[in-house]
Every structure is written in C-alpha cells, then in structure tokens.
C-alpha cells in the first residue's frame, strides 16, 4: 500500500518533526508514526505544546503552534516519533489578563487538555501528592483499541431496570471484601456474582471521571482523620477515568480496566450508568487552581457575572457554561466517547438543571443541550436521567425538559415514601400518586420518567433513615451545619444504635416496608449500595469527605443481616417476575380489557373503599394481571396493603375472579423466612377475605 503523504513531517523544531495537524478530533490522537494534537481557544493569542517525560517537572520540549497550524480558533499539530507510553503533554496559552472582561490567561501555567483521555498525577488513591509540582494533573496518551468482542450496551427496556447506586471504591475497600485489589474497578468485577444474586440489573457508578481526592483535604478538627473528596463530584477531566479506582492505575491501564469491568457486567446482563458532573469543574472560583478551562478560555467555559466573577449555581464555586455552543460540543463529544468507546448504557446528570440555564444563568424553556442529547444518534439508546434541580434554586422535578427521553430522580417520591412509612398525616393520596409512577408529575411522560428511590448517596442510608431523627455530621468539621435538614426520618424511639429488640425489630420492618413499596411502585426503582444489608453511617447524612470504614460496604453485614439481604433478593426477584409492576405507560384506573377489574384499584381497611382522609394510615391497592403492560402480558393479580398505624389493623381483601386464590408473598411483620416467600412457593392464604396487618407493616399477596 502506498503510504499517505500526511504520514511524513514537513517541519522541524529543535529536533522534533512536525506537520500541520488535523483539527478534528479534538485532543490527542495517535496517528501513523505520530500524535496529533488539537485544541480550541477563542480568546487566546498564542499556544504552545509541552511534552514531558512521564512525571517530570521540566518539559522535554515546548513547541509553539506555528501560525499556519491554526485554523479558525483551533490549534492543531502532528508531532512524529513520540514514545507515546512515556509522554505527558500539556498546553500553555497566552492571552489577556482582564478578569472584568472574563479573561484570566496566565502564561506561567501549564494546562491539561480538556479532551485528555488519561490523566496522571493521582495514579494511586490517597498517595500524598507533591504539592509543588508545576503541572499536577497531566494529560496522557491512550490507544482506544480495547477488544470488546461481541459486547455492546445491553439495552434493557428502562421500565425493567432495578438500579443499584454505588461507589466504586466504597464497594470493596473494606477488608472484609476479600477481593484481590480492594477499592478498585477490578474489585468490583470480582463482586459481580453478588450483584447477580441481589438481582439488580443496572449499576449507577458515582463519579468515575478523574477527580482529585485531595481537593480541599484537611485534618478533621476532632480526630486525626484526613477529610477528602471521597465522592468525587468535582471533575478534573471529563474524558479520563479515575486512575485511583484502577488496580492498574499505577501502570496507566485504567482505561482497559474500566472497559473490562463494563464488558463483564454486560456479560452478566447488568447495565452501567455513569453519574456525570457537567455543572462545574474542580477549578473552583477566582481563588481556585488553573487546571485546564480557566487558562484556555475562561469566558467560553464558565458562566460569569457582568463583573467577571463566577456564578455559583452548583454550590461549589463555578458553573460550567453548558449552553455555550462550544461547551455543548464538549459535553456531546464526551458522552459520545463514553457511549461508543466504553459501551456505557446511560448517564445520570448531577444537578442537571444547570444544563438548562443560558449563558447568563437564566433558565431556558427549550435548552439546546438537553434537546441535542435527547436526539443524538450515538446516545439514542442510552438512558438519560436528570437530577432535576440545582443549587441555584431551580427545582424542575416534573418539569425538566424531557423531549420524550429524559427521566428524573423523583425527589418527591423520596420525600413521600419517607413521610408515609412513618405515619405522617395527609399522605395517602400523595403516596397513591407515587405508587402509580407519579402521573401528577409525569402525565405525558409516563412512569418511566420517574426514578423512584427512598435513599441515595446524598442523605441518610435506609438504616439511618429509621434510626435517626436528626443528622449527626459533626465529624465533617462544619459544626453540623452541612447536609440536609429535611430528612423526614424517624428513629423508631431511640436516637442511634440500640440494644432494644422492639426498636430494632421495628427498624428492620420499616426497611422491609420501604423495599416492598419501592419494588411494587410503577417507575424505576433505585436502591443505594449497602441498604440491602442495613449499612449505617452513624447518622451522618453527608458522607462526601470520609474515606473510612463507616463509608465502605462492610461485607460482614451480608452474614449479620443475611435475613434482610434475603428479603431484598426476593423482593427484587418479585418485581422482575411481574410485568404488571413495570408498565411503560400510566395506569388508567379503569378496566379497558374487560376483566372486570380496573388495571389498578384502591382499597383501605375495607376493600374498594379507600380512606383518603388526612388521618388515614391504611392504604392498599390491587393490580389486575390481565392489564399487565397495557394488556399485552399476562400476570398474576397483586394486592399490596400498607399499615402505617402504630397498631395492628384488619384489612378486608378484594375478591379475586372465580377459581383464583390469594397467596402470601410478603408480610413484613413476620420473622424471616416467613417475611417473604420465594417465587412459586407462596402459600395459599387460609383466610381469603381478611388479613391482619401488624403495626407499621406491609403485606403483598399474589392472586393466581
């Protein structure tokens, strides 16, 4: 084959062979015999490329982009014969220092590539960095040639998902995990059989983009603990996986390790969703560090006040200018990269309402970025999930611009189920909406717009939700001022851990009640890692800064609370076995099939006569199996009764069609293993007309 002309250099600079580069794609790309570098800046006056030996402070060479190497606002150059595995690269930009006009160019800074696919500098989690390093977050080169064989995203219909929100490090860092390299992608991979046995079919990974666990790190005022950025909601590089989460990060192989994890999750029919943080970056406000954007084109990348300060809609110092056309392109390129090169199945967007603000911070009615992502051909089968609020006061649960694609973390579901199970007044009507997939919020979008949850990483764990009335965040070092105050939690009679068997029994019952309601609600259930085994954070509802055992999954709990784990396994299996629980379209509360029963009917202590009054503490519903999936699927009938009263209540059960009988599936007031029955093993109910529900308990019956 004849070699291409552009595989030969045309220029030389101090011994380095060059030629004008390709402008697309942005970032550094391996090309025959060389590396192509392409970077954008609208307001810079000049740009140079710095090449380093891996980890070195002093560059090997600094190569200016020649005038003829720039087209439009893009600088592009190919450098030949680079030992790509041993090279770090960065850029230096020159331009105006005019903060009042939004420009903060500083030609003393070395800047990381916004498109860097590997970033070095925090290669091993928690290893104390050299704070004096002139270029701490270092762009590196990678070959995207992973051998996926026949893998591709799993494409499970969204209504069939059971999401497990998890922290990569926290999942296996605890000594009890027993994995080869604890706290890593590879450790997670070793624990896939646990996820399979639990029954979840989607893992939502808290941020795995490169971040700096040492950002704002400090010693705790009342212990020797080093407080860190454990959660990672502060991106250093949008295209680079967190090296410190990889067992092979010290060899720079995090890209392959994460891909291998995803491939094996897919082989087990488990989807991978990434929690992505596009609302801000790790560069902070005007006192923050120069990492990349600030020094490349501050005015383009950030939302600025008229005086040139940073708007802070994210609550973390700056706000990415997501509806600037350039930044939109970056976000789109990034998501396409993760979907195509990493086979990621979906994204959950942190503080997504910021993605709907214009360049001056005002909310848009038709945000171009959200529309673009919804219609993108590569992202077409990806799940797009919004955390539909931001720290600037925009709250869009129910009104997030959806374009028929976007789902939302349903914060209203969380608040309603929390208040309902503790017996708050005036909640039954509201809970009925939540159970139906929140048609009051998502009338035209369907129940698949609703990600239902009781607990997530932000706030109490499920165990703490039933063990604490108040947050206990003292060891965060902020005088207990951080973290949410409206937790809608109830300690069941004693604040914190106790030996009182009655209180503990009630707590474990309440956890089962939440799981039972969550798994029988229309919409998509999400559970928090560890809730299935009763993980406690000792009342701390804002654990972002603790890299400690309190935050890690303690695998001994799978034995200590084996009964609870068994309950979760069975209730998840129950959901996955019953299509009547997983409708794509809203229930109509009418009988459009002619079965003699509405698709969903409401009941109370009396069948067919729910008590919707403010003092009601009893609610029950029945799903007609003939209406499953709009009548397209056949299923059992399902009856769910909920008693949030502090005393036992008799519930009168609706009658089944002739020839069918009610079977006992769940009774949260029974001791294990009678709290839940395996699929197919449910015993026939002796008394078919009435059932006694213990105080604070849930019963699920199946009619067949």
């Amino acid at each position: 084959m004849i070699s291409r002309i552009d595989t030969h250099p045309t220029h030389e600079y101090k011994g380095y062979k060059l030629r004008a580069g390709k402008l697309q794609p942005f970032g550094a790309t391996l090309v025959p015999d060389g590396v192509n570098f392409s970077v954008f800046s609208m307001h810079a006056t000049s740009c140079t490329l710095l090449l380093f030996n891996k980890g070195a402070n002093e560059p090997l060479i600094e190569i200016p982009f020649l005038d003829q190497f720039r087209i439009g606002n893009v600088y592009a150059m190919t450098v030949f014969d680079l030992p790509y595995e041993n090279i770090d690269y960065g850029f230096r930009f020159d331009g105006p220092w005019e903060p009042e006009n939004g420009h903060r160019f500083d030609n003393t800074k070395i800047l990381s590539d916004p498109y860097a696919k590997v970033i070095s500098g925090r290669d091993v989690w928690g290893r104390t960095p050299d704070w004096d390093k002139p270029y701490p977050y270092r762009s590196r080169l990678v070959i995207d040639d992973f051998d996926w064989e026949d893998d591709r995203p799993v494409e499970i219909p969204i209504e069939d998902l059971v999401i497990y929100e998890m922290h990569v490090r926290g999942f296996t860092k605890h000594e009890s995990s027993g994995v080869h390299v604890r706290g890593t992608f590879d450790g997670l991979r070793e624990k896939i059989p646990y996820l399979v046995s639990l029954g979840v079919n989607c893992v939502e990974l808290m941020p795995v983009y490169e971040f700096d666990e040492f950002e704002h790190s400090k010693r705790s005022p009342d212990s020797d603990e080093l407080l860190m950025n454990y959660w990672g909601y502060s991106t250093v590089g949008f295209f680079a996986p967190k090296a410190g989460y990889a067992a092979t990060g010290k060899f720079g192989m995090q890209v392959d390790e994460l891909k291998n994890l995803i491939k094996e999750l897919h082989a087990n029919k488990i989807e991978v969703m990434l929690d992505v943080v596009f609302n801000h970056t790790a560069e902070g406000n005007e006192r923050g560090p120069y990492i990349s954007f600030r020094g490349i084109d501050n005015k383009t990348y950030y939302i600025l006040t008229p005086e040139g300060y940073y708007y802070n809609f994210s609550g973390t110092g700056n706000t990415l200018n997501c509806n600037n056309p350039i930044v939109r392109g970056l976000v789109l390129d990034c998501l396409r990269y993760w979907a195509s090169e990493y086979h990621v199945d979906g994204f959950r967007f942190d503080l997504a309402s910021i993605l709907g603000r214009d360049q001056f911070g005002a909310p848009l009615s038709n945000p171009p970025l959200l529309e673009q992502l919804a219609y993108d051909p590569i992202l077409a089968k990806c799940k797009l999930i919004a955390e539909a609020w931001d720290a600037g006061g925009l709250y869009q649960v129910g009104s997030f611009p959806a374009y028929g694609r976007w789902a939302e973390w349903n914060g209203k579901y969380r608040d309603s189920i929390r208040r309902f199970i503790k017996g708050d007044k005036d909640l039954v009507g509201d809970m009925a909406q939540r159970i139906m997939g929140s048609p009051d919020l998502y009338a035209t979008r369907g129940p698949t717009a609703s990600i239902n949850f009781a607990c997530c990483h932000d706030g109490f764990t499920l165990m703490d939700l039933v063990s604490y009335n108040e947050k206990h965040n003292w060891n965060n070092g902020e005088n207990n001022n951080d973290g949410a105050n409206d937790n809608h939690s109830w300690n069941c009679g004693w604040e914190g851990e106790t030996d009182n068997p009655d209180i503990n029994a009630l707590r474990f019952r309440q956890i089962r009640n939440v799981a039972s309601i969550l798994m029988t609600s229309q919409g998509i259930p999400m559970i928090l890692m560890g809730d299935e085994v009763g993980h406690t954070q000792l009342g701390n509802n804002n654990m972002y800064c603790h890299d400690t055992e309190t935050n890690w999954f303690d695998w001994r709990l799978t034995e200590k609370n084996a009964d609870l784990l068994r309950f979760f396994q069975h209730i998840i299996a129950f959901r996955r076995a019953h299509p009547v629980l997983r409708n794509r379209y809203h229930l109509s509360q009418s009988d459009y099939i002619g079965s003699g029963y509405p698709d969903i009917s409401w009941h109370g202590t009396q069948a067919w006569n729910p008590d919707w009054s403010a003092n009601s503490t009893a609610l029950a519903f029945m799903l007609c199996g003939k209406h499953a999936r709009g009548g397209q699927a056949q299923d059992d009938y399902i009856y769910v009764a909920m008693n949030t009263y502090h005393d036992a209540l008799w519930f009168n059960i609706p009658q089944l069609p002739a020839g069918m009988q009610w079977h006992m599936s769940v009774n949260t007031s029974m001791p294990s293993p009678q709290d839940i029955w395996a699929l197919g093993d449910e015993p026939v109910l002796g008394e078919q007309q009435n059932i006694l529900l213990g105080n604070h308990s849930v019963v699920i019956l199946v009619g067949r």
Binding site: P83, Y84, E85, N86, I143, D145, F146, D147, H180, V181, T184, F185, D186, R189, A246, A247, T248, F251, G252, M253, D256, E257, K259, N260, K263, E264
Partner: protein, 111 residues
C-alpha cells in the same frame, strides 16, 4: 530486551529476556510474526520479563490474533504474578493459555 528462539518437538520456543514496553514491543512483534506459519505452535517464555506495559499487553494480543488467523496456537509460560494481575484486571488474560512448564505447554499446544 533480548529474544531467542529454538525449535523443540515441532514447537517454536521464543524466550523473552527483559521488559516489554512501548520501546521494545515492536521488536517482539516483528520477531514473533516471522515465526507465524500455518498451524504453527508457539511457546512464549516470559519468565524473564519483569515488567510489561500496556503496549506490551497489546502486542501479545496482536500476536494472538495473527496466530489465530494462521490457525496456529500459542501458550505463555512464566508470567509473573504482577503481570498476571494486570492481565486479569484489564481483560487480556481471557485470550491466553498460561502454563507453568514446557511439558504442560506441549500438552496445551497439541490438545
């Protein structure tokens, strides 16, 4: 890195001595590719390889694919535990047969 080759019982034994990284991987590739013939049986001894970079793992996979295309087979012997762990975590391991001795290798290559 030093490379040597001998033929034992119709099996091409290639011994690698030294690290396999971006600088040496092309040399390894060239050396092994020269030995690939239809239905070849290659025994790659890496017991004197202390470090294998991402480029090294990639060259192994490229060789594996090329040998497969020629309907040949390859086994690795003497993979250090560090390299084994990296291969396991990154998924390269699933493509290879690893053995401890030449005799095991003969069995694997002739089965």
């Amino acid at each position: 890195m030093e490379l040597t080759k001998e033929v034992r019982e119709d099996i091409t034994v290639i011994t690698v001595n030294g690290d396999i990284d971006g600088a040496t991987a092309p040399q390894l590739q060239e050396f092994v590719v020269a030995e690939i013939t239809p239905n070849c049986r290659i025994f790659l001894d890496t017991s004197r390889v202390e470090y294998m970079s991402s480029a090294g793992l990639r060259v192994l996979l490229v060789l594996y694919r090329k040998i497969n295309e020629s309907k040949g087979t390859v086994v690795l012997v003497g993979v250090s535990s560090d390299i084994y762990d990296a291969m396991s975590a990154t998924g390269f391991l699933r493509h290879f047969t690893l053995v401890d001795t030449f005799e095991e290798g003969v069995k694997a290559l002739t089965s």
